[in-house]
């Protein structure tokens, strides 16, 4: 147990990062019934922007720039690649998402020259070493889960108690009737992408400060893990995505702690297969009722 403690702490932290990405998947799925394959790449872009901006600007300028750029990217993706396909079959939307994913990776390749960009201690405060219960770790491992939980609470409160939150919940169930009520569907969808991208940007900052470099494919694996977390928790459900993310983060790190590092990803993907076979709706998922 003593030896596993650092892994548990790391697992909670990884879980927080996955949760911040997973919420983006689950929100977008909830409203568009679309797996936004470009989400992991949005996460990667946030990391790249952080590397570029923190090296030349003070933090109070660079961090807002990272957040704003990521939000603008998420918003633009929806407007350019998904909005024109609003009445198209869902499959077209998915293909468009895959296209966007490759497009972003290739643009990033063009800009970075294909080399991984080293992350040079962008936010010194969170990278300082601290001791929790006798285990030494970086401060970011403590900051991540706390910030994640805080943001989740704000988000859930917002969706429950504001007008646009009510519009989101209505639209996620029934577009046509929501429009009849006067809900502006396009605004609600844009808003969903903005929230998802914002959280991914926060997750990206926390993830990459603890990581040696950002490569153009850096978003794929965390993106996939977060996606699995969202499916495991029940896609469309915010608490589901968060719980799923923490469980996956913890399990992966524990497996590493037990000396089976090679299998940590295998575990996650096996989990996806099992969930899809046994309980496709996930832990907290709604029953699948196709929109009429």
């Amino acid at each position: 147990m003593e030896a596993l403690l650092p892994y548990i702490i790391n697992g909670v932290s990884a879980g927080g990062q996955y949760a911040l990405i997973a919420i983006g998947y689950t929100l977008v799925y909830g409203i568009l019934r679309l797996i936004n394959f470009a989400h992991g790449d949005v996460f990667m872009v946030a990391g790249l922007v952080m590397v570029y901006t923190t090296s030349s600007m003070p933090l109070y300028v660079s961090i807002p720039i990272v957040l704003i750029c990521t939000v603008v990217l998420g918003f633009a993706i929806e407007r350019v690649a998904y909005k024109p396909l609003r009445s198209a079959p869902r499959m077209s939307l998915m293909i468009s998402a895959i296209g966007v994913s490759y497009l972003i990776q290739n643009l990033a390749f063009y800009i970075t020259g294909g080399l991984p960009k080293p992350v040079l201690n962008p936010i010194p405060w969170v990278s300082e070493t601290i001791t929790i219960l006798g285990a030494t770790t970086k401060r970011v491992t403590l900051v991540t889960p706390v910030l994640t939980i805080l943001l989740v609470f704000v988000l859930v409160y917002f969706i429950k108690n504001t007008k646009i939150g009510m519009g989101m919940r209505a639209a996620s169930r029934d577009f046509e009737t929501a429009r009849l009520m006067g809900v502006k569907i396009n605004t609600v969808i844009s808003f969903t992408f903005i929230v998802g991208s914002f959280l991914a940007a926060v997750g990206s900052i926390l993830y990459f400060t603890n990581y040696p470099s950002v490569a153009i494919t850096s978003g794929s694996l965390p993106g996939l893990r977060a996606f699995i977390a969202a499916v495991f928790g029940g896609i469309g459900s915010i608490p589901g995505a968060v719980v799923g993310a923490f469980i996956i983060g913890l399990c992966e790190e524990m497996i590493k702690g037990l000396g089976y590092s090679t299998f940590s990803d295998a575990f996650t993907f096996a989990l996806l297969i099992i969930v899809l076979c046994v309980k496709p709706t996930g832990l907290f998922g709604e029953k699948v009722t196709d929109k009429v």
Binding site: M166, R173, D174, L180, G182
Partner: protein, 236 residues
């Protein structure tokens, strides 16, 4: 004759690859109850959806107080004072009853207290169930909620698509009493029904729609005693 508040002229709509509405015209005078009756697939729902902009007509014109509605966004049409209680009620199942009522007033920015009190007065049952999720209500209660939700936008014209569908006769009678009450309070009603008997009894004026065309029209009482209508829709 009172003023025409809603007027449909030569409306043609293709829906799902078929010609659902083949050039119909009708008028809805302000303050009255007008009904369109007809069998399944006659084009009734499509007509109402065209009015609120959920379906784009192929040709024709729909005017509200003289203002053209074709081509306008649903949001802007609803904000002018037309609302639709959709077929199958379509309440938001995982919102509470109160939230469903509030979302009906999504476009309004003023105080809703009086209007909430008003719809609770019309449907006391909903007040008892204020905090329940709408999905847990019975069919009749959901229909009441759908009507209450529509009223929250303070419409001048309320359109109802098959409000009696799937409800017990006693509940249907209650719903129709409410429709009359709403109308008495000054809201114009455009009702479409398969339950022709009930609809014609409360209607000031009625149109019969058959496979995309209007085949008959007259006051509710006239159509009730019309032989063709009796045979085709009243089962007599």
């Amino acid at each position: 004759m009172s003023d025409i508040i809603l007027s449909v002229k030569d409306l043609q709509v293709n829906y799902g690859g078929i010609e659902a509405v083949k050039g119909i015209s009708f008028d809805v005078p302000a303050g009255q109850i007008v009904t369109l009756i007809g069998a399944n697939g006659a084009g009734k729902s499509t007509t109402l959806k065209s009015v609120v902009g959920l379906v784009k007509p192929k040709s024709g014109s729909i005017t509200f107080n003289g203002e053209e509605l074709v081509g306008k966004e649903t949001t802007s049409i609803v904000s002018k004072g037309i609302t639709l209680v959709p077929e199958g009620r379509r309440v938001f199942a995982d919102l509470t009853v109160l939230e469903n009522i509030k979302i009906g007033a999504y476009l309004r920015k003023d105080d809703l207290k009086d209007d909430i009190a008003w719809v609770y007065d019309l449907f006391p049952r909903l007040k008892e169930r204020e905090w329940q999720l709408a999905g847990t209500l019975s069919g009749g209660e959901q229909q009441m909620l759908a009507v209450a939700r529509a009223l929250m936008s303070r419409p001048k014209v309320i359109m109802m698509d098959e409000p009696s569908l799937g409800l017990a006769p006693l509940i249907v009678k209650g719903i129709f009493d409410i429709i009359k009450e709403i109308n008495k309070q000054g809201v114009t009603v455009l009702l479409i029904e398969q339950n022709a008997n009930m609809a014609l009894k409360i209607a000031d004026y009625a149109y019969v729609l058959e496979t995309g065309r209007i085949t008959l029209s007259g006051t509710g009482a006239e159509l009730l005693s019309n032989d063709e209508v009796k045979k085709a829709y009243l089962g007599k």
